[in-house]
Each structure stands twice: as C-alpha cells, then as structure tokens.
Amino acid sequence: MYRALFFKEWKDKLSLWAFGAGLLVFALLAAAGWPGAKDHRDLVAGVILVLYFPAMGLLLGASAFEAEFRNDAWAYLLSRPVGKGGVWTVKYLALLSMLAALWLVFAGFMGTVPGLRAIVQGLRLPVAFRAEISFLPWSLLLSLLFFTAGFSLSFLSRKGSTVLFAALLAGLALAFVAYGEATVVLGFLRDEWFDEAQWLHAFRWGLAFMGAALAAASILTFVRADFSQPRKKAAAFAKHAVPLLVAAVLITAVWTALLPRAGQMSISLSRGAGGEAYIDAFPGGLYVYEPARDKVRRIAPSGFLNWLTGLSSSSFNAGKKILFSKIERGKSPYGAVNLWIMDADGSDKRRLLGAGLPPADPRSRLSASSYVLSRDTGRIAFLDEEARDKPVKGRPPLWSMNADGTGLVNHPLDSAVFENRKEYRLFLLPWTAAGDGILLCQWSSDSAKPSKMWLADLKSGKFRILLESFGLGWAIAPSPDGRWLAVAMKTMEGSVPHLAVAIIDLNTLEIRRIDVPGERNISRPRWNPDSGRLAFFVRRESPKGSGAYVLTVVSVPDGKILSAKEMTAVESTGDLYGLDWLRDGNRLVFSDPRGDRCLKILASDLGEEKRIPFPVTPSGAQTPFAIMTSGDTVLAVDTNANRLWRLDLRTERWKKIY
C-alpha cells in the first residue's frame, strides 16, 4: 500500500514536475547553447543552481498535502488502515524522488552536453585560502533544505501561498541561525585560527541539523495532532518545533566545537643554519627532524616562518637560535603576527614583538612582516608589517634590536626604496657578516620593472643598490656556512636577456657573477653542504615554445659550470621545492611526482643513478612532493594530504612520520 501511495504522489504532482522539468531543460539548453558571451552562460547556470533548484524544492515540498486539502481527502487518507507516520514518510520520499529526478535531468545534461560541466564546475565563490563555496553541492543542500522546510509546513494550511511564504521564511531563518552559530562557535568559543573551510563545514552541518529538526517536528505533529483544527495544528507544531530546533542548535554547537582542529593547511620544510631539517606545519607548529630518533619533535606551537622571503635560514643561526613568528589574536580577523625568539631546541621562548608585551613598550605595537637574525645571533632586523607597504608618518619600516628585545632602533629608509611602493614588496635578506648592515630586497611585482637589492648601512644610514635583476625574489639562497649569498639574476641588455648567478660575499660585500646560458629565468639555487657548489634549473627558450629546463651545477670558487642536463618539462616542475643535495655534496636528488613518480638520484655528472618510487601517488595541482635531505634521509612533503614522509636512502624504505 505504501507503493500505491508513492506512485499516487507522482500522479498527483506530475503536472508540477513536468512544468519544472520543462523549465529546467529550457534553461539548461540556454546555458549550454547561448551564443556569445560566456558570462551569459555562467549567469544562466548560476541562476539554475542558486535560484531554480531551491525554489523547485520549496514548491514540491509545499505542495505535499494539496490534494488532501481538496474535498477533505485527508479524512479519507487518515481513516485508512495505514500508519500516519508511514503516510508522512512515503509522501516525503515520493516528493523527494521527484526533486531527485530533476537533479538527474540536470546531471544528464551535465554529462552529455560538452562545455556545460565545465561551466557548472567553474561556478565557485572563493571565500578564503583553501575555502570556497562550490555552487553545485551547495545548491543540492539548499534545495534539500527548502524542500524539507516546505514539506514540513505543508500540512498546516490549505492555502498554498501561506505555506510557501512560511516555508521560505523558515528556510531563510534557519540558514541565518546556522550561519550565526558557525560564526559564534568557531569565532569565539574556539580560540584558534579561524578556518573558513571549517566554518563552511559547520554551517553545512548546522543547516542539516536544523532541517532535520523541522522534519522531526513535522512528522511528530502530523502523527499526533488534530488535522481538522488549523490553529491547534499550528500550535502543536510550534510546541514540537521549538524544543527540537533548540536541540538542533545545541547539537550543532557541540558538533562544531568538537570538530577536529583543521588539518594542517600547509607543511613546509626549511633548513636550519646547522643543516637541520625544520618542518613548519601550519597551524600545527614548528618541528625539527631528529635523524637519530627518526622522529619529528615539536619545538614551538602554531608558528610559521616567514615564507614570503623564501629565506628560511635567515631565521636561524648556527643552530643556536630560532626567530619565528606566531599568529595570535589581534585586530584583524586573521590575527596578528607576533615575533618570538627561542633556542634551537625549543627552550627559552621569548616574545619580542606584539600585543602580549606591556602596552607601554613600543614593541607591543609592532609586528614583523620580514625578519632576520644576524650571524652571531646578537641582533635582529625586521620590517614593520604596517609600514612595509606604505609609510607611517615618523615611523619608517626598518627596525633593529638586540636578540633579547633591548636596543630597539628605528632606521630611516632611503626614499628611493619607497618609490612606487604599490609595485614593490620589501623583504629582508641576511645581515652582513660584520653585523653592521642589512640586505633588503625591493621586489617588483611588475615583470617589466627590475627588482633591486639594497644594502642598508645601519651605522651611517646610507643605502646603496647592490644588484638589479628581473625576477629577484625566490631565487636567493644563503650558503650553509653563512658566508655567501647566491642570487639568481636576469638582466636585460636592450631586449636581450642575460642570466647569471651572483655570489655576494657577506664579509666584504664583493659580488661575483657567474654567467649562465639561458633566456628566461633561473630557479632557486641550492648550495651543497660544503658551500662549494650550487644547483639550479635554468629555463631557456626552445623551439617548442614552452621552454627547456636545464639542470645546472656550478662550482662557486672558480665560477665554472660543472654539469648541465636538459630535463623534461614534467621533471622540472620540481624546480621550486623538489631539488636537494645529498650529504656527500656530490650527488643530487630530485622529485618527479608527475612524470615517473619517483625520486631520482643523480650522480655528479647528472646522470641518473637510481630511482626510488614514491609511497603514494600524488595528485592535484599543488606541488606534490617537496623534499629536503637530512643526513642519509630524504624528507618529502605530500602537500595534498599534508603528510610528511621520510625515505631512508640506505634501505630505500619510506615511512610516514607526520
């Protein structure tokens, strides 16, 4: 008999469904075939998802008891030997199946009409880093929510318009409550970085719980109430709905509060000045890899190194001290970045900048966007975040202080450094060896303008340009022994580009150029452990048009190119993070996650010595396997799953260590 009731629903509402389906097909054809602007097609597809499906859900749900209100057929139905709960459920499922049928029509079109799927999947609203609202699943959820709202209220009134209006209000109100709850619980009750992805997750669950509460109130009322008395029905519904909705709110709050803390949003590797491998897991904390125990040890919570500079080792010094920044609650919703210092083993943490300091201390109002420890770990230079991009009157952005926070000095900045500040970003590079000057990079975001490296003499306050290069930025590497700074350079002579690696002696500030054949750019150079060699990728023009990648090794003392090997384009996607030296200083290892899906060990002539396959198959757009050697191991980060693997080079076995 439930089957009979199920199909009866279809027969009753067939005309409504057909109308909806016709409308949908028409709109889909328009979305797929509209000649001309893609924007129009996007608009139609967007309207289908955002407006049509929730509205159809609402209509279908609200029409649930329409046939029963005509002629008092509800008395017929309720006088039959069938459970009222069963009646409600069968109706719900039947109408839900009608909504699902519309979705199937949609899916059918998506699957068969080329281009439509791309349009639909492209409909996304980025909310924040790694959080975005993808229209399709949200449309599904909202259509289900409004359907449930409409259905839950449909037996309360014989006037369709009343039900529609009330259900629309209910749906919007519930969404509003879920929204507020997610914000309150995540924003205030959990004291941590506000993760939009988590917020969306909480919001979704809030909607689901509220919808379920509404449905539960509806079925309870239907089963118990006197159908013939509208006011009593409504009162009974309210009596059921209020406690259930309150319960839903509480359950959502608890559920949200118990959500596992956001998974690591990122893991990156940095080499300490003593050669140790540091793992920066955000927001998990700072870890060091201990080869002896083959384990990672946490040395600081929720910190991240200033990855903007790409010069992680500027924060370390001879393994003695680590300068790091930590995000804490602050004025902006993203928090404030506060500077800390600690010993390399994680002990003796001290706050150097930020709101946690006594308000009278001028350091409490500063935060560092870029920071560097001097070689002897005695002094710190930093750029004030607020003033970095625009000058604060009377307060230039460059500061220095002692490593214990004393001796705060504000250094005047050459106005030339600030020219066209909209086009440049400033960040700090290592101190000079003598500790009296700081290198400062003025990086141009406009590829037509060169970036400049300045030397700021802190004693005299004078600035001079050391280097000018196109694309200065990522391609800067200090040597392990702290003496040199390698800078990948690109200069233009007329319209002819020239590539070179500049070696800056941090003691004497002399600059040596090692010319490198190539036209496009040089990737981040890697020093080998004894600071004698550099390895990097050179991107050259090629007849293929996309450019050729040449892995090049140069010897620093004599400035000669030792070996060069052309790599495939796929292999060279590892140019940023996938290349490192082995302990012997001779051989290289690089990661090829896309092509051969393995680590490749290269001999000193860059010939392939060995291949070691990856433990998992990486996928996705982000750089999958960043690597760093540490002793006889290679650490590799699976940036998609945010896991850290360790490869033992002797046994060639992988182990997941984080």
Partner: protein
Amino acid sequence: MSELLRIERLSKNFGRRSVLRDFHLTIESGRVYGLLGRSGEGKTTLARILMGVIPADGGTIHYKSRRITFGASDYKREFGYVPEDPFFYDGLTVRGLLALNARFYPRWDAKRAAADLERFGLEPKAKIATLSRGTKLKLELVAALAAAPELLILDDPTSGLDVPTRRDFLRDIIRELAASGTTILFATHLVHELERVVERLLILHGGCLILDEDFDAVKGRHQASLEDIFTSLVSGDGK
C-alpha cells in the same frame, strides 16, 4: 452477541466548545445501532474519532478488547466508513479509487466491488470529480463494503439526497445486513430511514448519550413515532 466496541469516558473539545463529554457506548456485534443527534452535535466527531481521523481529548476505546489509540491503524482494516460528505481524491477515476483503496485492505473483494459497481450503474472510468453527490455516496458504499468490514460506520451519509436515493441506500444496507450480519453504527439526524432498520436506539445530546435502549422497548414505552420521541427528548421535555 459479543462485545465489539467499548467506548468509555470519551471527550472532545473544539476550542471552548465541548462536543463530546463523558461519552459511553458499548456496541455488540451483529446489531444495527442508530445514533440520533442534531446537526453539529457530535456525530461526525464521534465517527472521526472511531476512525482515527482526529484524536479524542480523553477516554478510552476498546475494539475486541484491545485498546485503540490514535496512532493505531490495523484495527481500521475491519472498519468501514461512509462519511457525511464524500471525501475521495477528486483527481482519481472510480476504478482508480477502488484500486487505491484495495491496497489498504487485505480482505478486499475485487469481484464484489466490480459487481456492486455494475449493480449501481457506476462507470469505472468516470472521474470522481464529475459524479453527483448521490453517485459518490454509492461509490462510498461500494468501497466500504468490498472490504468486508466487521463494523460499518455511517455518518449521516444520506442527508441532502432525494428520497429515492435514500431508499436505494437503505436497500443496499439491508442487503449487506442480510448477507453478512455486519454491525452497523448509523448516525443520522433523519429519522425516517432509521426507523426501519434500527435495533438499538442511541440519542446523542449535550455531548453524551441520553438514551441507549432497544428500539422496540422505547417505542413501546413512548407509544410515539421515532420522530416525536427524538424531538421530545432532545427538546428537554421528554418523559
């Protein structure tokens, strides 16, 4: 005669109006019970409560010694119900409605339904919405009887219909009685049909039964027509 239905202390209010109040009734199987009551005084309410369409506010109902709650539905398989106003889905055809109805009753006799349709001259393909009131009544009866109910509840179904139709209806009831000995609760405010068939007379007034007696005894005692008996009792100056 066994006790089929026992209603005790039944009460039902609509707003402040108390329609049924401390209502007691015991129905024995195989007999015809006539429930007289003025319009709007609770006959339909009682029928709906018995059929589980609306809940009572208080009291208990036992069918075959088993307690019936608002949520129970199995017992309805043995009940037939012809309401005051026809209440079928108007979008169905005659055949469609009977097919739907059949799914609810395990004892449904499709052959009998078909035979009854023919006897009443009902066109299976006709749309219910197009039928006259009298025809709908016939359909109601067909639907109710084809399920072979133990108890047939008639809630003033013939009011507003012409005399020949009412006669036809009565005839069909009598045929059913003769054939199956169905227990009947016949609620009405029209006394004339009732007089011919009622065995036990019930008069509903002020929310409960002011009379619950065998009809012959009542008639003998009052020596008046049922109409007069009813009028006098309900007007308050009864004997």
